[in-house]
Amino acid sequence: MTARPALHGGRLLTLAPGLALAVLVLPVLGGLLTSFAPGFGPDGFARLRGWPGLPGAVRLSLVTGLGSTAIALALAALILAMLVDRPAFGVLRRLLSPLLAVPHAAAALGLAFLIAPSGWIVRALSPWATGWKVPPDLLILNDPMGLALMLGLVAKELPFLLLMGLAALPACDAPRRLTVAAALGHGRLQGFAFAVWPPLYARLRLPVLAVLAYAMTTVEMAAILGPSLPPTLSLQVAQWMSDPGLRALPTAAAGAALQFALVLAAMAGWLLAERVGRAALRWRLWGGRRATGLDPAARVLAGVAGFGLAALLLLSLAGLGLWSLAGLWPFPAALPEGIGLQVWRNTAPSLLASLGLTLLIALVSTGAALALVLGCLEAETRRGRRPSASIEALIYLPLLVPQIAMLPGLQMLALAAGFQGHWPAVAAAHLVFVLPYVFLSLAPAWRSMDPRLSLLAASLGAAPGRILWRLRLPLLLAPVLTAAALGLAVSVGQYLPTLLIGGGRVGTLTTEAVALASGGNRRLIGAWGLAQLVLPALGFALALALPRLIFRNRRALLVGGGR
């Protein structure tokens, strides 16, 4: 890295925090207000009420969102409680961490291939166990209850919650608290619940609410795994928004407002349930039970759930790969009769064009996010104080407000400004969602750096700019690259912002793959689904490899630095 001129007087730096806040807050607020406005015209809510699917759609949104979040959180807690100090956990962690970077749409497509009536699981059991010679006429996929959608959400959110919990665990003094609880006679599960979970959950609350908001309103997963008559409310709103002449705009706006209210109500209910849970825990505490008998079953359940869901996701992705290579593959056969690159060869031109566009958008949005985050952190370091907790909580704002509620408004604003349908507008929309993840990923590493290092450098006469470029950034290369890889993965996975801000004319790998999903050409879906994984995988591989290459003669930077 060459030395660059110091940011002059820090003028740009003083702007960074304000700019980042503007990126986090303005699109959300502007989007929400603009989204809802047409709904309050003469026929928005009236038409929405007139839609016969409304009660079912509302119920689906609530049940799948709340249900999958509660299940994923419970399983994450169970795994943290029962397995975290076991050797098996290291394996599980290595399996789940890369799955975090898999776009939701790719995971959903793979899962659909796996569990469909003609999918891999049924094929593996047919005809010898089931007797089926043709795919059974069962609604396993797109079931009206939304069970397949919930399974997909749980499988995708569990790794996220688990890794967030793992990151928060050291601050909760878990090992010694668990030892104290055990020495007082408590079973492991109960000791964890009493002694570790309350402080741990306090740190997980915002990520959990973000998961809830996503699970209630996901469009791409609902389109692939969810029911269709009626679909979830968010999917229906997205379909109304995509109506060519914007005739359904008032209905869509009313639906978006209703969806937003539903998410707020669900969050309020969730926070109420927290209070009930705390009271129940206290009640149980005074009862004095030790509950050592729960531990064996809890340990088995934790292992089955953790490894089962990891296997489900891995098989899903393997299935995408196999379908993309498959020749003739008649129904009950577990494996295709031939393997070839035919599909890849045919679709390569459009695939590569889309890959390039996806990469361009991801690089621009991630680069901008990284510049803003580094500016904020450097400004904070030079000023010597962190922003208040409430300001910092705003980082979560774009993750807590459902995309389906704010993006229609942003789409209208982009349309009015003439930006819609161009890739820079899409990259700008991605920035809103990439920025929080880059910040959350980088800030802990940045803040844990020994402040004496820069003090020492300053005492040697180094200017702040030189300290940043020659000292802090090189030392933090690994976490910076990891944050960038995460940002890249988040951008690649964005569906709704790409679809709406791109006006359907900016075809990234994710929007194209979801669009193909309704067509039913499995080989093509497999190829495009798998292609979604390429950029995140490359990004994380580079984030791992580059520091090792650059610092190959600096052992202290390699130990644990390449995480």
Binding site: V180, L184, G185, H186, F194, P198, P199, L285
Partner: protein, 218 residues
Amino acid sequence: MSNAGLHLENLELRLRGSLLARLSLRVAPGEVVSLMAASGSGKSSLLAALIGALPPGFTLSGGLRLNGRDLTALPTAARRIGLMFQEDILFDHLSVGENLAFGLPRGGSRATRRAEVAAALADAGLEGFATRDPATLSGGQRARVALLRALLARPEALLLDEPFSRLDAGLRDQIRRFTFARTRAQGLPVILVTHDPADARAAGGPVLDLFGQPVSPT
């Protein structure tokens, strides 16, 4: 020979093969045996091994019996050995009374259990502290609450891992006397690990190194 007390029979603690401790000793009810060694010598790992929470990489061999029960195969929660760390490890999200209730085993109605917690607090000079936030307590008060919590679980032995080292010099002696008076009154066998000779002197029992050789606590 009586079964009462805590018996370590040819107990050997190793870290990846290298021997850290070899002990054969009997701690009688009400007795305090002090183990003195420099920091980093494996004292805390030995206590972890005794309660059945062996850290990775360590191995333990030999026998461990408490009042005639063989403990070697039992999980921590079933051993009935209390433990006090250097820090008091109170749960800051619970009130003082709830911290104590966490130690109290099942039995009696909720009302009698609340009364038992209140009585234990009053007995320790902490009357009316049940609803207090642990964060508002002084260091000495926290130490007493942590000890009460360990004792309310009705352990049959107690292990102390330098529990006084974090306290101010003036307070240290007071909490030491408070602790040993309680363990003697309840007839608990106690093992204290420390590097502070004053702790060992105050305990009044034998003072050994990690290989069972007497050490003079000067």
